[in-house]
């Protein structure tokens, strides 16, 4: 790191490009999120969802969360979307791509979702003081290490979330068994 950059980091300066990157990533996420729910072909929806996931991963990086960024890329954009694409190819898209995209009650659902959005915006406008922008700098270099200390504990002791972590592994095991049993032809 060169000295000029070092002093900028020490002074707590925000990088110059941050707002532009934020608006680019947020716009990309929202745009491809809209594509996910409007495309006729399920494969196109899946590809748009991958773009959304990667843009959200970029937002995590802007929030100083490199470990969550990596998890997002590997688990979501890698693993889960692979599963989705395989299932899209197993069930036939031919028939459903020729039918109506939306169900008959879609105006009701759309209106309900819009009123939910209005509620969110009202809460954010009224309660702006509830979300202070403290900008307490999280240490980026030791992020993974600190998450590991919370999940696994350090120096022999249990971490705050070690028990929850073990329960999560049980949940994954149950999900694997459930998926295998449900897709089996004959039990």
């Amino acid at each position: 790191m060169n000295p000029a950059m070092n002093s900028a980091v020490n002074a707590g300066m925000v990088p110059v490009a941050t707002p532009w990157f934020f608006y680019m990533l947020a716009g990309l996420a929202v745009l491809s999120g809209a594509l996910v729910i409007t495309r006729r072909n399920a494969v196109h929806s899946a590809l748009a969802l991958i773009v959304t996931l990667i843009s959200v991963a970029g937002l995590y990086l802007m929030l100083y969360a490199p470990f969550v960024f990596a998890v997002q890329l590997f688990v979501y954009a890698g693993g889960i979307m692979l599963l989705f694409l395989f299932v899209i190819m197993l069930v036939n898209v031919e028939r459903s791509s020729k039918e109506r995209r939306f169900n008959r009650m879609w105006p009701v659902g759309f209106a309900a979702a819009c009123s939910l959005m209005a509620l969110f915006m009202f809460a954010f406008l009224k309660g702006k003081a509830l979300f202070p922008d403290r900008r307490i700098p999280l240490p980026e270099a030791s992020n993974t290490q600190q998450i590991a200390a919370l999940l696994y504990g350090e120096a022999g002791g249990m971490g705050s979330y070690t028990f929850a972590f073990e329960i999560a592994s049980l949940l994954l095991l149950a999900a694997i068994l459930g998926a295998v049993i449900m897709t089996k032809k004959k039990l």
Binding site: V14, P19, A26, A29, V30, G33, A34, V36, I37, A42, S45, L49, L53, L59, L63, A65, V68, V71, Q72, Y76, G79, I80, L83, F84, V87, I88, L90, V91, S96, E99, R100, R101, F102, N103, M105, W106, V108, G109, F110, A112, A113, C114, F120, M121, F124, K128, F131, P132, D133, Q146, I147, L150, L151, Y161, A168, A175, G178, V180, M182, T183
Partner: protein, 102 residues
Amino acid sequence: MVPITTVHYLVVAAILFVLGVIGVLTRRNAVIVLMSIELILNAVNLNLVAFSHMWGNLQGQVFSIFVTVDAACEAAVGLGILIAFFRNKETINMDEIDLLKW
């Protein structure tokens, strides 16, 4: 230019959440409904990480990892149910999945 605050991230997450809700409520293709649920879970994750940044501690990031675990489980089981259903009824339209309706 206005600096990016926590509320900016919350607004993006709210938009993604509402898009997911619209997808769940209006689409007929069950695979796309599951994808919309992934969109909703991602919005929640973004909120958690934004709050983690706001308070300067890592609890939010740990929670977002747990939410990711949940999303993986939900995708596996949901798609398993979908394949089993498709094998029985040759359709994945949400309005034809009404076995438990009376």
